[in-house]
Symmetry: C2
Subunit: 125 residues, 2 copies
DNA sequence: ATGGGTGCAAATTGTTTGCATTTTA
DNA sequence: TAAAATGCAAACAATTTGCACCCAT
């Protein structure tokens, strides 16, 4: 496999159904194992390509850099650890949120982010 | 009143109980009326001071710059218009969000953001 | 003159992009 | 050898900060 393909596959391979949302830097670090020396520019370009292909989606957490995760996981939300900064996927969603908007407003989507300590940071070994 | 005081008061005066969250740029533009020529640096420094005094709080919306609003409004969330980009305060909050986190995780706060069209953008004159 | 506050510009971080080079077909 | 992808560095936007300067006390 050639270099270009290896880089792209290394990045693409990071997105799994079980994986948590990854930031560009995390992607670069993890991809470095299979494709040493990937530049951040390539990471961003590959992310953009995969996003346009509909394979991954951008996850925006309040006050932090964008993350990316595998597309097609269905409606869900995220948890961000205040200690290690990692983002995790959470399931379940209270309904009826659109009703909270003021009269005349049209709600088409929503984001819920939980903050706290992840299992690892909450139960230090 | 001297220039410094006028600038600070112009900025401080932008934060009202009814006001929506403002970004540093919006703050600079609005403050310019009462205090012409305020630099962004001063806006940021004043924001920081007011935040440390506990008069205003930072509002972080997914994927957008930070906003600031008057402190002490009680628990509430926000709506962001996809058309004009403005942020609005919304009231009400579904409970039990902490239960959505995985086992072992400790939730200490949460953020909910609704996206869509504000009244003005939804009902163009 | 002395300290507090200001504007400008430089520094930071996250992200994008131009361009020359490398790689692939 | 021409097209495609890469790395580096420059360019941007948001935010912070160093520094010289200005104003009120």
């Amino acid at each position: 496999m050639d270099r270009s393909t290896r880089q792209r596959e290394a990045i693409r391979g990071l997105f799994t159904p079980e994986g948590r949302p990854l930031s560009p830097k995390e992607i670069q670090e993890k991809a470095d194992t299979d494709a040493p020396g990937v530049s951040l520019a390539t990471v961003y370009r590959t992310i953009k390509a995969l996003e346009e292909l509909g394979e991954i989606v951008k996850v925006e957490l309040p006050g932090d850099a964008a993350r990316y995760e595998l597309a097609g996981k269905g409606h869900h939300h995220h948890f961000q650890c205040r200690s290690c900064g990692k983002a995790f996927e959470i399931h379940g969603c209270p309904g009826g949120l659109a009703a909270l908007a003021p009269d005349g407003f049209k709600v088409d989507s929503h984001e819920i982010t939980l903050f706290g300590l992840c299992a690892k940071c909450n139960h230090p070994a």
